[in-house]
């Protein structure tokens, strides 16, 4: 775990991620400018650090209703504005980028942040960026696998010899600057499907597993096949961190949490994928075994501890600022995490208390 800058004896890591949603508030119709939204996200990272959180990450989306297309630039600003919190991407769409440039960017962010940068590489759920950036969507799978492999190779070797299908060959290519401590934590973003988890496990790469809804137990299978694939390929699963990522909203009661959260989740899904979140499914979110972490602080603590017992994961990252949610609501959540939720999570997952 050391290689990935994770110390499990300190308990479950708790982080925040944003996809950079930039959507008018569905309740009021009010909109922020792209500038305001980007400033909010930088502010969000500072607040997360002040609340004692371990990690903050920003996603890359090139479609309408998002503000962080240039997520590495936003991360650089966050690197400068913070001093302790680890920072990363959720996710960097490696398929439509040059791994050399991505590595240069993140190494630089690592130097700016004094060794706090990480990469989570993903494949994109929407495909408009393939046209925008000049790639063929029919190469969706292969583009990711080839570029992800190259990114990892650059992380392992300063001088790279490589050839592939989607990029000019590299001959004795020196990729600099190098990260502060020689290498970066590089994770693979995995959606709900176990197939992608198998690939991550097989390659011995840490996994960030994103989930929208459903019983936590369903996602246990994905974690299991990931570790099993890693073991079969000769990697030690105990050395490979797993992070989970999903919706989070805390309020005084579970009913209030669901009511306040729903319009923004629904709007975010509607704007990003064209299908809202079904109300019937969302209302099941208050169940202690449901993967959505919405409820009172105490209920959320119990949910996260249950998930930790189930998955044995090393990091949980929460998505709160969806679908045009007013920033004050986001701030209140950070406050509740910092004052009530985080101390309890750390207390119960520290190694001495039986955590992994």
């Amino acid at each position: 775990m050391n290689q990935y800058r994770i110390d499990p004896s300190k308990g479950l890591e708790f982080g925040i991620y944003t996809l950079g949603d930039h959507v008018p508030d569905p309740k009021t119709g009010k909109s922020t400018s792209p500038q305001e939204r980007i400033q909010q996200i930088i502010e969000y990272a500072k607040l997360a650090e002040q609340a004692g959180l371990d990690f903050f990450s920003v996603g890359e989306s090139h479609q309408n209703y998002f503000a962080t297309q240039a997520h590495t630039v936003v991360l650089a600003a966050i690197a400068q504005a913070t001093s302790k919190i680890k920072i990363g991407s959720t996710a960097t769409i490696i398929s439509t980028s040059d791994p050399v440039r991505v590595y240069e960017d993140f190494s630089t962010i690592d130097l700016i942040s004094n060794g706090r940068a990480e990469i989570v590489a993903g494949r994109a759920s929407r495909v408009g960026l393939f046209d925008l950036l000049g790639y063929n969507v029919h190469d969706y799978e292969e583009l990711f696998e080839e570029k992800f492999d190259l990114l990892r190779l650059i992380n392992e070797q300063e001088v790279v010899n490589w050839s592939g299908e989607f990029r000019a060959p590299l001959r004795n290519a020196k990729v600099i600057p190098r990260p502060l401590n020689g290498s970066l934590p590089i994770w693979r973003a995995v959606g709900g499907s176990p197939a992608s988890a198998v690939k991550a496990g097989f390659a011995g790469v840490p996994m960030v597993m994103a989930h929208l809804g459903g019983p936590a137990s369903v996602f246990k299978r994905t974690v299991d096949v990931y570790r099993e694939a890693a073991r079969k390929a000769g990697h030690n699963p105990d050395e490979l961190p797993v992070a989970t990522a999903g919706f989070f909203y805390a309020a005084e009661t579970s009913q209030q949490a669901l009511q306040e959260f729903y319009p923004y989740v629904n709007e975010s899904m509607m704007k990003s994928n064209g299908q809202g979140f079904h109300r019937q499914l969302f209302m099941q979110g208050s169940d202690p075994h449901h993967i959505i972490n919405a409820g009172s602080p105490q209920q959320i603590i119990e949910k996260i501890l249950y998930q930790h017992e189930l998955f044995g994961h090393q990091r949980y990252i929460a998505q709160i600022d969806l679908g045009g949610m007013p920033f004050d609501q986001v701030k209140r959540n950070i406050e509740l995490i910092g004052t009530e939720i985080l101390p309890a999570i750390k207390k119960y997952t520290k190694k001495s208390e039986g955590g992994k």
């Binding site: 929407r126 969507v137 009511q259 299908q275």
Partner: protein, 187 residues
Amino acid sequence: MMKVVGLSGTIVGSKTKTAVDYTLKTIAEKYPGTETKLIDLAEYQVQFSDGRNYLDYEGDTGMITRAIMDADVLIIGTPIFQASIPGTLKNIFDLLPQYALKDKVVSIVATAGSSRHFLVPEQQLKPILTYLKAQLVQNYVFIEEQDFYRKEIVNDDVKFRIERLAEDTMMLAETYANIREAAYNEL
């Protein structure tokens, strides 16, 4: 306002389009508050599904997937090809996401050259619609070649059946909408 989309699922012939169009006009007449739209696949160039999000299709294909996803009610018109639905119609379903028809009421109007095809919509089309989570109107209107003359329906029995289908469809759509509102009004 209820949005009703009628889909004529073939690029061959005129009977299916005539039947869907007649159904939409019946609905528009009896339910003045509804917005109806006919999509006749014969008028569009639709690409094959390649698995992308329905919003990522452009041109005619994107227009059609969006119109269907935005609808509250769908009237699906299908002829019978080789004992099944035409590939053009299956492709429309393939373009849509999982759960695409959840909370939508869907009705079927089928046209055929022979009464021997009567069970084809039941056995070939309904399972797809059910998989997409449609609220189905169980009865469908099955119309034969002899019921048309020069692009018009000439059998009163067919017209009566379409009227009943229109009524069942709209009654179900309104009822389900009210039930959902009552059941999930907390959110």
